[in-house]
Amino acid sequence: MGLNRRDFLRIAGLSALAGLGGKTAFEILAPGELEASEVPLPKGVKWGMLINMHKFDDALTKKCIEACHKYHNVPNIGNPKEEVKWIWTDSFHHTFPGQENEYQSEDIEEMPFLLLCNHCTNPPCVRVCPTKATFKREDGIVAMDMHRCIGCRYCMAACPYGSRSFNWGDPRLAPEALNPEFPQNPDYPTRSKGVVEKCNFCAERLAKGEQPACVEAAREENEEAMIFGDLGDPDSEIRKALREHYTIRRKPELGTGPNVFYVI
């Protein structure tokens, strides 16, 4: 009897659809985590950061920011419209909008809060990325894959903290006057135009057993200013500090689970 051409094409088409559909159906069960779960890192580490604002002044925050931006070749674009920043300072009002009251102390009004990516436990940016260019590692770091990013900026829309920057132009073409000796770190790449970037908790430094650049810079002046460590280890320095001090996080009501804690 045999199959006629129409039936054959029909069956072939349906099988192809079933095959393609199957892969997608599988991925639905483990959204965005299939690749991140293959990270073979020190098991059970969960990175977090504590920033003790009482130990900071403008000079120290500047030192931290410079350490980070120098190490990662973050360009100084020179205008707030297109600026790229991995760590920066802002006022209490802007860091914790909704928390302020008109009767609080001047100290708090004048504190130069350090802001950076919070490497959330439940990051909305990872949830929305269409290519998994931003993904959550097993150690908690929300990482960026610059090779894969298509520059759609959905992650920037999703981040409730404004932690992410986009390369609106070629970072290597940033004003020379503002970026003498750019790139300052020949061991780390720059980025190209059209991709999103942000703090990466110095993953490449952690891999060598070093602390993040900002933390190292801060602790040179005052060991209590910044603590970076394993939130999963109850005996770690950061866990001890978290027990000792009352800390707040940015917008915790959104359920993102930020891992940067502020002592104010």
Partner: protein, 388 residues
Amino acid sequence: MLEKAIKGEKKYWGWLAFLLVLIGIGLAAYLYQFFVGLKITGLSRDVSWGFYIAQLTYLVGVAAGGVMVVLPYYLHDYKAFGKITILGEFLAIAAVIMCMLFVFVDVGQPVRIMNVALHPTPNSILFWDFTVLSVYLLLNVVVGWNVLSAELKDIHYQKWVKFLIYVSIPWAFSIHTVTAFLYQGLPGRHYFLTAIMAARFLSSAFAAGPAILILLCLIVRKVSRFDPGKEAIRTLGGIVTYAFIINVFFFLLELFTAFYSQIPGHMHPIVFLFSGLHGVDTLVPWMWTAAGFTVVALILLVVPSTRRNLDTLAVGCGAVIIATWIDKGLGLIIGGFTPTPFETVTPYWPTLPEMAVSVGVYALGFFILTVLYKIAVGIKEEAAGLST
């Protein structure tokens, strides 16, 4: 069937030539953007989505609007719409192509855009938007083409086409729901974070899409010998009216929640749009213009005599299009990103190059629409024995 598009009068070619000029300008502006980067737009670190994405949002609605003709005809046998379903489908094709182009021009690394297909990410709504829009485009192309060819050959289309038509009906609802989901689930953006966003989107779409379709039908009536039919146009007018009333009602619901609860996060974007915030009031005149056109549209559409009269209906539809475009194409995205996560206000306005690229994309969409309509109208004229 394509040969219908290459035989036309002077006005037809003149219109296409004009569009080609606009496309050329858009292309030049886009090449500038491609080589220099998105810094040539008005976008910034704080307002990272703007005009391009807003146009995508508006046009997805227009594409979905075609279902308001397809649904009554195929599910409820409303015969009067039979002549214009193809016009709705072709409008959807042009609109979806424009949507995809607006995404393409907005993306920072367009050469990598296939990463969305190479690394499917079902938890990302953008992945689903990419998927449902592509499928919707395919559906409309396949259905439109087959139905039109069948009409040309004076036979009934194949049964499997009917199945695809049935799929396209919920699919049209889905494309705009998915697009709404892009915004509706973002925890930091209070203007977007509302369950009614998808409903607002759909109601706005079902007002704007058919309104555009009515204007297109009236134009077709004027420039060709094909008459879509007064009854079809009037029924569409009724659909626009109801959809627009619902759209306005939903907006008023948003106003109530924001201002009765007095929660700053809910209020501030609306205050920014309608009254200005921190001294930035770029959108205020636009939003109040939209409000004015809304009132005009409501009067012209609700009053039966002005809705019946095709001229006043046309004005009413124009008002609907302007009002919905300002709401979605300007207010929605800019309002969503204002104030910033830091409760500051960063002004945004599209730059000239940004507008040039957008004009180019719109011109390309209109070009495709013109060609498709020329084909459809040509075939219908022939089928009715009206061509010479």
